[in-house]
């Protein structure tokens, strides 16, 4: 009997509003410790929070983009717990009335991972361990977060990773977060349990806290899945507890058990007033949403005629997708543009970050011009590839590397006489071709390309060569 994984994710996404959730301090990453702070976000006695409206707008957009229902009247609650990086000894969050509920994300298999809720809350600061001392940096304190909680619908590591990637891409597309996992602007808690395949009931779950790398998430899930199976198979019981992933040892280890689980003593924050959102506002946010990644993928396949694989690669990064769309504007066969993007250009964007930032040295208009030139047969494809490399090296437009003569093209009559000349000079190859050695024609083609400095339309030239050989020697 085989075991099945049951997992749900709690994903924290930092919103990219300019200012913090309850004050005017910048949300910019980094900075000298405790320089992005004011009396409000470090919770000095007597200070009061003032809810940043943009946070609600961003959170509503995140909800709409994940098919959630938006709660028109909601409130902020206090989650009380003591930790040195939490300056008020409570985190302002949402408890029983989250802003967004009942959404879903569709995986490429067509399966939906349901989203229970999305709520807004503030980030805490961080502890800095240095020379045996502990310091606190409150720069992150008060940066707005949304927590996206999924149902336990995930059945494999692959599903978990795809879900996170889809969520990431969606947040990126709608512009509410830069979702940089290495900077912690997207972090996950994984709730995981195992059960015998076919069982209805869930097993006892453990929670693995605060991971900000897809690699660690998949390793932690794999470890935890096997650990739980081992325990159950040896007749043991799973303890409900909170665990952390130790990346040095590639294991998960216990942080605290259920018996010392926190009692957060949630209650409504009396310093903040009710959040109410009008239907018109929700409508306005809905209309302001850009095309979402799923919609774009479908359009790239259905309307632009790309293959599933190519379309996925081109929609995976928002800026790349936008670049591609501009570069293929007015192009008849958009596959050509896609090929250039996924070939020469992607070779130069080796890392994820480079693709994320779409660091292409030429603007999309330049690529567009080049593609249109090839489509109009002003230059041939091998020349175009060559020109593209030079464009990428220099950042200059196609025309800087193509002479008027290149673009004149060679009419069929002129090409025919060059082909005849080429066959005469390579008679041996012509005879070999007649003997059935297809490859021999290469020598003749090489001659033609040299003669025409690559301007000849290779397809047409090959056809002419075959024709002439057949006419002449048969």
């Amino acid at each position: 009997m085989s075991w099945e994984m049951v997992a749900g994710l709690e994903t924290h996404v930092e919103l990219s509003t300019k200012t913090k959730i309850f004050c005017q301090c910048t949300t910019e990453f980094g900075g000298e410790p405790n320089t992005h702070c004011c009396p409000v976000c470090i919770g000095l006695p007597g200070t009061l929070p003032k809810l940043n409206k943009a946070v609600v707008e961003y959170a509503v957009k995140a909800g709409l983009a994940t098919n959630c229902k938006i709660r028109k009247i909601s409130k902020m609650d206090r989650k009380n717990y003591v930790y040195p990086d939490l300056p008020k000894a409570y985190q302002i969050s949402q408890y029983d009335k989250p802003l967004c509920e009942q959404g879903f994300i569709t995986l490429s298999s067509g399966k939906n991972i349901n989203i229970t809720r999305i709520h807004i809350e503030e980030d805490a600061g961080k502890l800095v361990h240095e020379r045996g001392d502990v310091y606190v940096d409150y720069n992150r304190g008060g940066v707005p977060l949304i927590e996206i909680v999924s149902e336990p619908d995930i059945r494999s590591i692959e599903e978990a990773i795809e879900y996170i990637e889809k969520l990431r891409l969606t947040m990126k597309y709608i512009g509410v977060s830069d979702v940089k996992m290495q900077e912690g602007s997207l972090r996950c808690d994984v709730n995981i349990s195992v059960r015998k395949k076919g069982d209805e009931k869930f097993g006892t779950r453990t929670e693995i806290k605060n991971m900000n790398s897809l690699n660690f998430i998949s390793k932690a899930m794999e470890y935890e899945f096997n650990r739980q199976i081992d325990i159950l198979e040896s007749g043991g019981e799973i303890e409900q507890e909170t665990r952390r992933y130790n990346s040095d040892l590639n294991i998960t280890e216990s942080m605290r058990g259920k018996e010392d689980a926190d009692d957060y003593r949630y209650f409504r924050d009396p310093d903040l007033v009710t959040i109410s959102i009008l239907d018109e506002e929700i409508q306005k946010y809905k209309e302001s949403l850009p095309e979402l990644p799923g919609e774009k993928l479908a359009r790239f396949i259905d309307e632009m005629g790309l293959s599933q694989d190519d379309a996925e690669l081109l929609t995976k990064y928002k800026k790349v997708a936008e670049y591609f769309e501009k570069a293929s504007d007015n192009v008849e066969n958009k596959k050509i543009t896609a090929n250039y993007m996924l070939g020469s250009i992607f070779r130069r964007l080796s890392t994820d970050t480079e693709k994320e930032e779409c660091n292409i040295p030429i603007p999309p208009e330049f690529l567009n011009e080049l593609v249109i030139l090839t489509e109009k047969k002003k230059i041939n494809s091998s020349m175009a590839r060559n020109v593209l490399e030079q464009m990428l090296d220099t950042g200059k437009p196609a025309k800087s590397f193509i002479t008027e003569k290149d673009m004149e093209g060679i009419d069929e009559d002129a090409l025919r006489s060059i082909c005849e000349k080429a066959i005469e000079s390579n008679e041996k190859a012509a005879i070999q071709y007649l003997d059935g050695k297809e490859k021999a024609i290469g020598a003749i083609m090489g001659y033609i390309m040299r003669e025409t400095k690559g301007r000849a339309d290779a397809v047409l030239a090959k056809e002419l060569v075959k024709q002439i050989i057949n006419d002449k020697y048969k």
């Binding site: 000095l44 007597g46 003032k50 009380n80 040195p84 300056p87 000894a89 209650f267 009396p270 310093d271």
Partner: protein
């Protein structure tokens, strides 16, 4: 026949006619503080240098012939839970000793811009928790009427400073009666404005949904003038709503036909002499042409438990931040961070504060939340509705402020529960967010002042100030006669 008891008006006239300069006046107050405060313990920090600097600025303005703003140049005091940039602010607690705010509370910012002359920070019950000022880590503030008695709490220092004539007025904070009760004990006018009219930004929180800053003054006119200056909308406080109109120009209106409600429940268990004084006041109102409406308000019996549950719950959360990590007191010997926080709080907080934090933590805990906190919130709703319906048939309610007069020293430490019960008349206004005012209405046989309370519907602060003013004028100063503060400088 109208006569003014306004010290503010009087001082303004002295300035205008150049009989006294702001510097002279300020020095005189500072001299008096040096003398009187040794006994009264009203101030826990005196800001003489700053006061004289401001006074100088005001004098220059007078010399240039510029007109003064309403509170400009008037020497005053601030309760020590109102944050003052650069001036130590302790909330009367060891845990905040040495804490110097880096920002100003909005109210102080407003007054600073008016060149109010801050004489010092006044004594208070620790974190505003108490009814006698005796939970202060600086010792209690005494009652200028009789120094064997307390000034009241928690804004006892503010009341003592005004009654002792070592401040023209003081700002206090009122969570369950902390402005009105000491005003009553010291024979002064104390106003708790409608929740949200005065910004709480910079007021060190006790219970956020109940706290409200209010003036303690020696007469109604002064209280109205201060209220008008500080009731300004503040975008830094999400619950701020500002006031609807100036109250000081509405004091003169006749109250003929005004309906004054008297709920019997407010009189249960109050001292006989106090009841008699209030009845006399009711008579005065009848003479003034008001109509007295007697009715029942059974919800009053719930106000004390509701108040203590909500106030302590919020306090337990608000006071979590005092952990010794960033500011204030920090325990010296500890093994790890949890031990440090634990020791800091055990050593830094006094008994009463610890009692309320424990109570608040308990009522919010899983398993008890529904039985206590949630139930209290429900009852709070019913109390609010009861007031709403009362105000459908009357303009203001009249009640005692406190069931007793000023306690003798050390009374409250003997019986904390008995002391909690004395909040019975004041807390309902905080629970419902209503404006309420205490004004003297007589003296007991020891010569200690008795206070009566007027409560109005939300944002009807002008109504109670008007009603109080009319009473004050009718009494022609009788209610202030034993009070030091009645005499002008």
């Amino acid at each position: 026949m109208e006569r003014t008891f306004s010290k503010i008006k009087h001082i303004k006239k002295l300035f205008e006619t150049k009989q006294v300069s702001c510097t002279e006046l300020t020095s005189e107050y500072l001299d008096r503080i040096e003398e009187e405060n040794k006994v009264l313990n009203a101030y826990i920090r005196i800001t003489g240098e700053e006061a004289l600097q401001t006074a100088k600025k005001v004098d220059e303005k007078i010399a240039r012939g510029e007109s003064l703003m309403p509170l400009e140049g008037i020497p005053m005091s601030l309760k020590d839970n109102i944050s003052t940039n650069g001036i130590e602010t302790t909330c009367g607690s060891n845990i905040l000793k040495g804490y110097v705010p880096i920002y100003d509370a909005t109210v102080w910012n407003i007054l600073k811009n008016q060149n109010a002359v801050l004489l010092g920070k006044t004594n208070m019950d620790e974190f505003a928790m108490g009814s006698s000022c005796e939970t202060s880590c600086f010792g209690g503030a005494l009652n200028p009427h009789d120094t064997r008695h307390v000034a009241g709490g928690s804004s006892g220092g503010a009341a003592s400073s005004v009654a002792g004539n070592i401040a023209v007025y003081g700002l206090g904070s009122d969570t369950g009666g902390s402005v009105r009760q000491p005003a009553s004990f010291c024979g002064l006018v104390g106003l708790k404005p409608t929740y949200g009219t005065v910004s709480r930004y910079g007021l060190i929180a006790y219970a956020s949904s109940l706290d409200q800053i209010g003036p303690i003054a020696s007469c109604v006119e002064d209280a109205a003038c201060i209220y008008d200056s500080i009731s300004v909308y503040d975008s830094n406080d999400a619950t701020s709503r500002g006031s609807r109109s100036k109250t000081s120009d509405k004091l003169d209106r006749s109250i003929k036909g005004m309906k004054i409600g008297v709920a019997k429940e407010f009189f249960d268990g109050i001292r006989e002499d106090i009841k008699k004084s209030i009845e006399k006041a009711i008579k005065v109102y009848e003479d003034l042409g008001a109509e007295i409406v007697y009715f029942n308000m059974p919800q009053i019996k719930n106000v004390l438990p509701v108040y203590y549950i909500i106030a302590c719950a919020e306090a337990s959360s608000n006071l979590g931040r005092y952990d010794g990590i960033r500011y204030g007191y920090k325990s010296e010997l500890y093994s790890d961070v949890n031990d440090m926080i634990c020791k800091t709080r055990s050593e830094g907080f006094g008994k009463e504060v610890q009692r309320r934090i424990m109570l608040g933590t308990y009522v919010l805990s899983a398993g008890y939340y529904d039985a206590y906190y949630k139930k209290a919130q429900k009852l709070r709703g019913s109390i609010i509705r009861a007031f709403k319906s009362a105000f459908e048939s009357c303009d203001v309610l009249l009640a005692p402020t406190v069931p007793t007069t000023a306690f003798e020293l050390n009374f409250t430490s003997k019986d904390p529960i008995e002391t909690y019960l004395t909040d019975i008349c004041t807390v309902s206004a905080n629970i419902a967010g209503l404006p309420a005012l205490s004004i003297p209405c007589g003296f007991d046989d020891k010569g200690l002042p008795i206070g009566m309370q007027l409560i109005a519907d939300s944002f009807e602060d002008a109504k109670i100030l008007n009603a109080a003013y009319q009473y004050e004028q009718q009494m022609n100063g009788e209610i202030y006669k034993h009070c030091n503060g009645g005499e002008i400088i």
